[in-house]
Amino acid sequence: MKTRRQFLQTSVMGAAASWTLPTFLNSTIFQLDSMAADSLTQSVNGKDGPILIVLQMGGGNDGLNTLVPYSDDAYYRARTSLAIAKKSVLPINDRFGMNPQLSELKSLYDAGNLAILNGVGYPNPNRSHFRSMEIWQTASESNINERYGWLGRYFDNSCQGAPPTIGVNIGSLPPQAFLGPQPLGIALANANRYKFTDSSTDSSLTMMANEDPSTFSGNNSGSSIDNLGSVASPLQDGMTNTDFLQRTALDAELSSKDIQAITSKVKSPITYPKNRLASDLQLIAQLIAGGLPTRIYYANQGGYDTHANQTGTHNNLMHEFSSALAAFVSDLKEQGNFDRVLIMTFSEFGRRLKENASNGTDHGVAGPMFLLGGKIKAGVHSDYPSLSDLDNGDLKHQVDFRSVYATVLENWLQTKSDPILRKSFPKLAFI
């Protein structure tokens, strides 16, 4: 697999020496590659080193029907139509147990591969989907609007000069969590189609094949306009839009070649269930097996916003979630890569204790997180929140999600969490 520098050296320098190199090549790529030699920067080779998989449960998963507080009458009183009967719950301890659709996940728990965190949230919770999702993805205080994602800041802090595949989002648009001052990470919805129709034209080279792009974009639409005195080619995050587009094209070209090479030779030996999440996880397993140099994979299972007639929908989602994860874990175990992988699940919020009038549940606050992996310290790492000591009808959070992130950054990704999370958070014991 070529680095950007190697790619540019063989392609641009060789084939098109007559072009003046665009400024961004000098200022960005070479600088990045020299940063990669810096000892503080984490190198990634795809063969060893930890991998984090973030699995987003979009829409606000009902934590109370995921991990069921079956010993608490308050649960049954609050959920006269939605409560899961005590006898069908898969018990974890004498206080709570799993939704019966999570049988595969229960087996992983029994096998010592799963850590459970109850009551994860943050202070001054926001009940709007995207605001709360933004808070989770940017790891910001709830009253601060942060532009960059926590993984974007991780890339920026610890992975400068890394190949574009350092972060891989399954889905054609990356999550805000990946957003950082420099574009890092790629997005793909489907490996088969992640390629250029015209592979003979180096798209990224065409994208850069004239000198300083800033002389073209912006200020030459009639010389008189220049006299108005505004700034030409404004920078955003230290790059012009043209730089940003060129860089993305280069990353698309390089990552497409790598991914095509892997998917044409690596096939999964495991049969996955037929659902979207399962096929996304299968692709991730394929890329891990093929040695794609990646630290972070990001996948999303949507549909958890169950305001009405929740039971059927939620059960299906639970079943998909559990069966897809189980197949994925078997695949990773088969590959011998399970010890390198940490899977972290989250949802932007849990749901209210009391069910609503439409056999559904409304936006709540705290919810559970799951952490799976070969090296995890299995077990329950925080108690079930009280159902009587509520905050405005919602479970109170007892673990700040940023403590989970801090633990993952420090103890799994082996990097300092303070510069990324902007604050120090207590570490937890799950790794």
Binding site: L173, I186, A187, R193, Y194, F216, N219, F244, A249
Partner: protein, 523 residues
């Protein structure tokens, strides 16, 4: 600030900028016409769109309860469970067909409308109020909401908000239909302030709770498919809202919101970001907000001020906005002189590019700017350009999943997946028995579709003899810019050096080179 742009600086270039932002770009011939109008008249013509005839016909299904299988509750109750289910299923199927029809009609309208700003602004309001058919389900309601934006998009902001609050699609989208005096639903009240009018930090949780009570009573009657008000479900009690107290109803709440200083700033910033550039200075936005307040929150004067301002034509604005997928698709069809609106394909490609019409990704709408661009979507822009020039297959464009589903749903039926771009496929129509789904899907996936470009119109024979003139003409058409000498040199280099006329193949290669340039992603 917001000084008028000097009329003597008005030229083809600035006119092109206006037409790209206040519309979807224009052909060279049309551009001459707009340039000759002068700035003031051109802006008037765009903003006062009622004065321009629009012959666009509305779909026949765009009327309340069209095709709804029941007239009233009694009729519904007279049927068995199975009969009901069957009728609903049939109705839902029609809805899916109609919603696709609506998407395609809209996409076509972007391309052909004589009122470019009306459609551009309708797209803005669609992203602003961000209502999705995934929840609304009924196409008529989506059509009705777009119609509301077309009617009031340049009118009184207050009227617009008041109608939106009682719009059936909005009532369904933000749970107004589930709200009543006993259990007021806060969804609409919250988003109204957070996203539509004020922004976070300009109201409290108490304001959300109190105003939610004021919006109760409105529902959507499923049989007549109209919004109806039931006083018995409405909370007429006293409310304390943004420092005022009274027995407020929905309209009072909107009036009070618009009395807030922040209201004008908020919408002005959103409009400026959409039409001009991101992150405008707070001073500039305050100046714009001041004019908006002076004009009693009428949108026309605001839009005219915006499109006539120096800042709108500044270097920060010109050729520096990342094209939205709709902008990219529609302007590309114009640029390549497409022989077909290709709406069926277009709606599917837009979904892959991250802008599914009628389905904004969240209540927040589309973030725009650099978020349009990922390695995947940029690759697909390149591949779509390639398809437009050379033709290709659905598989290459990554829209095959739709065909798989389509094949699945229509396994026993004749289907024509791309009626607007593909000549009738006799082979398929003659099939005596339906093929297995996957085989049919693969066939559709890999069937070659013809190119969309009309090369003869783009580059007539005489133009093909003069290379620099050809490149200048095409650069102006595709990049609507006076060509950069270095860019011209690069483009000229990509044509073989010879004295014969430029061939179709050479021309396509040249156009592909233009369409995958970073400048082409900007507008």
């Amino acid at each position: 600030m917001l000084e008028a742009f000097p009329p003597q600086l008005w030229n083809r270039s600035t006119a092109a900028h206006l037409l790209k932002r206040a519309g979807f770009g224009t052909s060279p011939e049309q551009l001459d016409l707009w340039t000759s109008l002068g700035l003031d008249t051109a802006v008037d013509r765009l903003v006062d769109w009622e004065l321009t005839e629009d012959p666009t016909a509305e779909p026949d299904w765009a009327q309340p309860a069209f095709g709804y299988p029941f007239q009233n509750k009694k009729e519904l109750q007279g049927l068995s469970e199975d009969e009901r289910r069957e009728l609903f299923k049939e109705y839902q199927k029609t809805q899916r067909k109609n919603s696709q029809d609506l998407r395609e009609r809209w996409l076509n309208r972007f391309l052909t409308t004589p009122r470019p700003l009306q459609e551009k602004l309708t797209l803005f309001w669609h992203g602003h109020f961000a209502t999705s058919i995934r929840k609304v389900k009924i196409s008529y309601f989506m059509w009705k909401q777009l119609d509301l934006f077309r009617r009031l998009g340049n009118g009184s902001y207050e009227n617009l908000l008041m109608e939106v609050a009682r719009d059936p699609a909005m009532l369904i989208w933000l749970d107004g239909t589930d709200s009543n005096d006993k259990a007021p639903n806060e969804n609409f009240a919250r988003e109204l302030m957070e996203l539509f009018t004020l922004g976070e930090g300009h109201y409290t949780e108490e304001d959300v709770k109190e105003s939610a009570r004021a919006f109760t009573g409105w529902r959507v009657d499923r049989f007549s498919q109209t919004a109806t008000f039931n006083p018995k479900r409405s909370d007429r009690g006293s409310k304390k809202f943004l420092g005022q107290r009274g027995s407020f109803n929905d309209q009072d709440i909107i009036r009070i919101i618009l009395q807030q200083e922040q209201a004008a700033q908020h919408i002005c910033t959103k409009l400026w970001t959409f039409f001009a550039y991101e992150n405008p200075s707070p001073q500039l936005m305050e100046a714009l907000a001041a004019t908006f307040r002076e004009s009693k929150m009428e949108l026309k004067p605001l839009l005219k001020k915006l499109f006539r301002s120096q800042e709108f034509y500044s270097a920060q604005a010109l050729n520096n906005q990342i094209k939205s997928p709709v902008q990219w698709w529609v302007s590309s069809l114009k640029n390549i002189a497409s022989h077909s609106p290709a709406t069926h394909l277009g709606t599917r490609i837009l979904t892959q590019l991250g802008q599914s019409l009628l389905e904004p990704p969240s209540v927040k709408g589309w973030d725009g700017g650099r978020t349009w661009i990922s390695t995947s979507t940029l690759m697909l822009r390149h591949n779509t350009a390639h398809y437009m020039l050379y033709g290709g297959t659905a598989a290459e464009l990554g829209i095959g999943d739709n065909f798989k589903r389509l094949a699945f749903a229509n396994q026993a039926k004749k289907i024509n997946p791309e009626p607007t771009t593909v000549a009738p496929n006799t082979e398929m129509e003659e099939q005596p028995t339906p093929e297995p789904r996957t085989k049919l899907a693969n066939k559709l996936l890999n069937r070659s579709m013809p190119a969309l470009t009309e090369l003869a119109q783009l580059a007539p024979p005489e133009l093909r003899l003069d290379r620099s003139k050809l490149i200048n003409t095409l650069s102006e058409r595709f990049l609507q810019n006076i060509p950069d000498p270095k860019l011209s040199a690069f483009l000229e280099n990509s044509l073989p050096q010879k004295s014969e006329p430029v061939t179709d193949q050479e021309l396509k290669k040249l156009l592909y080179q233009i369409m995958i340039r970073p400048e082409y992603q900007l507008t």
